[in-house]
């Protein structure tokens, strides 16, 4: 039972000032064991905040990140699943399933986490999964003036994962749950 927090595209302080308070209230330290961050947190203070939730933060470089030492992609093995992490602004067309699929095959991962579009989406095909946690702060994207703040949490149990999604709608945190299982 490994809990993996998945979020990104925070754009603090350039596009937003902070995570929504409703999210901060539930993101308490000591619960998750890993964080996969798609990048564009922007400020180092925000990165320190993520580290305070969990010291194990895996992050990749977004378009506007201040810290240039983050890698472009990262692969993390959790349980029996391989997670790939990429921001997504270098994958064109942005958010395109086939293009992301190429990255997935390149990194040879079961679940590819990408961001940049600020739009929460999951897409399953051929026993693989693409996940975009969206923007945890609801920052504006290149296409949308305002987006729904969202992030997700994986509960990894060997080759199975339960995905809990958290979206802020009308001032309330709406939760949903999905399943993924790697076969073969």
């Amino acid at each position: 039972m490994v809990l993996v927090l998945c979020l990104g595209d925070l754009h603090v302080p350039y596009r937003t000032s902070d995570l929504p308070q409703q999210f901060k209230d539930i993101l308490l330290p000591g619960k998750v064991q890993q964080i996969l961050c798609t990048g564009d947190v922007c400020s180092s203070e925000m990165f320190s905040y993520l580290k305070s939730i969990c010291t194990n933060v895996h992050i990749v470089k977004g378009q506007f990140d201040e810290d240039h030492s983050y890698p472009e992609t990262k692969v993390v093995k959790i349980g029996d699943l391989k997670f790939g992490l990429v921001h997504g602004h270098t994958v064109i067309p942005w958010g395109d399933i086939s293009s992301l699929g190429m990255i997935q095959r390149q990194l040879d991962v079961d679940i590819l986490i990408s961001g940049h579009t600020h739009e929460f989406r999951t897409y399953a095909y051929e026993d693989k999964l693409l996940v975009n946690p969206g923007s945890a702060t609801g920052a504006y994207s290149s296409k949308e003036p305002s987006t729904t703040p969202s992030f997700c949490l994986f509960d990894v149990d060997a080759s199975k994962a339960t995905i809990y999604t958290y979206k802020l709608k009308d001032g309330e945190v709406k939760k949903e749950k999905m399943f993924f299982e790697k076969r073969g």
Binding site: Y164, M178, R183
Partner: protein, 386 residues
């Protein structure tokens, strides 16, 4: 043959050659074992006889023994086995089942709880991993939930208690192979300890787990688990749990901070100890309390709460527990009298020393034969009405 400690040694030499064919110490020891076996195999156990015998120490297990005299004696003295031997089979089965139920109830894995409720979701399995967006289902409980009835929330709260228990268990008697070895068996024993202490913490939400409780559980687990009778040692964890509950029922108030100054708290017990000392060795009491102004909490706190488990080596501790558990006047009283004996036995060093050397001696008591101290305790309190 009710043996007080000194007996075996004394009569071996002197009159034995005159009376009968030489009775060596070995003969006397064998006779003692036979006496124990006789008392323990009665249909209805004579508790008084058993107590008298156990006060002098229970014989250790030898290779070839069918069952552990000590394990059985302790279980009877702690009330886990009643004196009517016919009830043993059924009462053991019931208790062991109860412990298993406690474990199941309290050792909760939230992922498995979630998986169980999801398995009943009919849509789930068929629609998984089809191409396209994953289908979503309703969330009743999630890992980040802060609701008080959330399985996850309770799990994380329990983790804090579990961490504290683990820290203590890892430090228990590291010099004893049973608790600390490379071949894997000590890891199993440590898991037993952690489970038992955690179940106790869950059953006592007011007290939970307090540092030091592991020391009151360790001798029980060791004694029951090293029982050559496999039918018993198999269930050592459950048996040790109930005996631990029995001991804690008497000593729990020492662990509760709020009760420190109450009539049942640790301060009151330490005052009783000093009262005994004042009555039986006024000079030493006066020296420690008035002239040296040594507050009992500097040494007696640990002696009492942990039943002297930190003051003696493990084998001696086991021997001590024979006496503590057997004393008809009660375990706490036995412990206090033993502490007085510890003080009186060191009186020469204490009276001659200053504050610093006194404290040093009391906080790391010099290696002493436990049997000598037990004999001293019996000698001191033999005359008194206490």
């Amino acid at each position: 043959m009710a043996a007080a400690v000194g007996d075996g040694a004394a009569s071996a030499a002197g009159d034995s050659e005159l009376e009968s064919p030489a009775r060596t110490k070995k003969d006397l020891y064998e006779a003692r074992i036979e006496e124990f076996e006789r008392v323990l195999s009665a249909e209805v156990i004579d508790l008084n006889a058993l107590r008298k015998l156990a006060l002098g120490g229970v014989p250790e297990c030898r290779p070839g023994d069918v069952y552990s005299l000590r394990a059985r004696t302790w279980k009877i003295l702690l009330g886990h086995l009643s004196k009517d031997t016919k009830t043993w089979g059924e009462s053991q089965r019931k208790r062991r089942r109860q412990y298993a139920e406690f474990c199941e109830e309290f050792m909760v894995d939230p992922t498995k709880v979630a998986a169980e409720s999801d398995a009943t979701d009919a849509n789930g399995a068929a629609s998984r991993n089809r191409e396209g967006s994953l289908s979503t289902s309703q969330v009743d409980d999630d890992p980040l939930s802060t609701k008080s009835d959330s399985v996850w929330n309770k799990y994380f709260a329990d983790n804090e208690v579990k961490d504290q228990i683990e820290r203590d268990v890892d430090r228990t008697h590291p010099d004893i192979h049973f608790f600390n070895n490379q071949d894997g068996s000590s890891a199993v024993h440590k898991e037993c300890m952690k489970r038992t202490l955690f179940v106790f913490a869950k059953l006592n939400p007011g007290l939970k787990y307090v540092q030091g409780m592991n020391e009151l559980h360790a001798p029980l687990l060791w004694t029951f688990r090293t029982d050559p009778d496999e039918a018993e040692s198999e269930h050592a964890e459950a048996d040790a749990f109930f005996c631990f509950m029995e001991i804690m029922s008497e000593f729990r108030d020492h662990f509760c901070k709020q009760l420190d100054n109450s009539s049942s708290g640790i301060r009151a017990t330490m005052t009783t100890l000093l009262g005994y000392l004042q009555e039986h060795d006024y000079e030493l009491w006066d020296h420690l309390v008035n002239r040296m102004s040594i507050d009992p909490q500097y040494f007696a706190f640990r002696w009492i709460t942990l039943m002297c488990s930190q003051e003696f080596h493990f084998p001696d501790l086991i021997r001590l527990w024979d006496t503590f558990l057997a004393d008809p006047k009660g375990r706490l009283d036995s412990l206090l009298k033993f502490c007085v004996a510890m003080l009186v036995s060191a009186r020469d060093l204490l009276l001659a020393g200053d504050f610093a050397s006194n404290l040093k001696l009391l906080q790391s008591y010099p290696p002493t034969d436990v049997n000598v101290l037990i004999a001293k305790a019996q000698e001191i309190f033999a005359q008194s009405k206490v």
